[in-house]
Point group: C2
Chain length 205, copies 2
């Protein structure tokens, strides 16, 4: 629908194309779908191209390699929640609602969950990405929970590093379990854990 002429390669100044154009967006949608089915290795560039409605080489014009496609996809979809700013025990409530939200986008959840385990291999294209992402999330949670120690909401002898590992491990493990078998209430299970943890964090009265 663009009537004015435009030189190839020129960045276009309209909303619809602000992030790189229709085709590129369609490829990312297709990549999310196909990568989420069986991870990076099981997916082929051709199948993603087909799902996006372009040829394989049309795809490779926008992303120079399969690896670059995955990394761009992660950078674009795996955004940290920008409203994650609770501190102290309120972090636990925030985690509950974030977990609940993540299950409203099962395809993205499945993509991220599968990639984490697949990326255990050091030669996996997302190995460093997952490692850094985990470390960032960990440090952020420890820091924000830690502010609850300062104001006496959390007992001073709490080992927040261990508890944050528990939180992150459980989110990952429950996601796997839920992706395998959706007839249990993963949010209720997570909330059960958060109650147990809260009881363990509160100072003795």
């Amino acid at each position: 629908m663009t009537l004015a002429p435009r030189r190839p390669g020129t960045p276009r100044g309209r909303d619809a194309v602000r992030k790189g154009g229709r085709t590129r967006a369609a490829i990312l949608v297709a990549a999310e779908k196909v990568f989420s089915e069986g991870g990076y290795r099981a997916a082929s560039v051709a199948s993603i191209a087909e799902a996006a409605g372009v040829s394989q080489q049309g795809l490779l014009y926008h992303f120079p390699s399969k690896e670059a496609l995955l990394l761009n996809l992660l950078a674009e979809r795996d955004r940290p929640a920008d409203d994650a700013d609770a501190t102290g025990l309120a972090v636990l409530d925030e985690l509950s609602s974030q977990f609940s939200s993540s299950m409203q986008a099962p395809e993205l959840l499945r993509l991220l969950t599968i990639i984490v385990s697949e990326a255990l291999a050091e030669d996996h294209p997302a190995h460093l990405y997952v490692r850094n992402r985990s470390a960032d999330v960990h440090a952020d949670l420890v820091e924000r929970l830690g502010r609850g120690v300062a104001d006496g909401q959390i007992r001073p002898d709490a080992d927040l590093d261990i508890d944050v590992v528990l939180i992150r491990a459980l989110i990952n493990g429950l996601s796997v379990e839920w992706l395998f078998n959706q007839d249990f209430d993963a949010v209720a299970a997570f909330d059960r854990f958060l109650r147990l943890l809260r009881d363990g964090l509160q100072p003795p009265q």
Copy 2:
């Protein structure tokens, strides 16, 4: 070293070969190693054969396909602990020591952990295996914990299905975390969780 003649295909009656011969055993050892690195899909039959010291076709004489190799490996290595017979809250202590033991065999732990997520895909050769194995473990834990309800050790309103999901999800999640980064004490983290859970299971005094 077998001096007596032996017809091909005849089952041999000696200890060293009770389970199928040296070559077969060497192939299973190699398969455990290679599959544990990056899962089923990333492994090639040729690389397993090379690690076992046979040709690819020598391997395929013993296992008719890559898929059969994985399934045989799982059937042979993923044995349930035969001394898992605790009941009530003692199940939690048993789980702690089982988890600790599993980390003494990091290669097997890595194999099993990676396969679980990889097998989320319905066309994965181990999909049904993992599904059934999880269900069996789940039912067994619920049953043995449940006997603690009968004798008043565990509060009668406990939701053991949810708590067993937490246990299994956490074991998987902590395994992933530990395989990524071995400089934290995964057993201490698991024990911390088990203490929280125990406090939540005990009847109000």
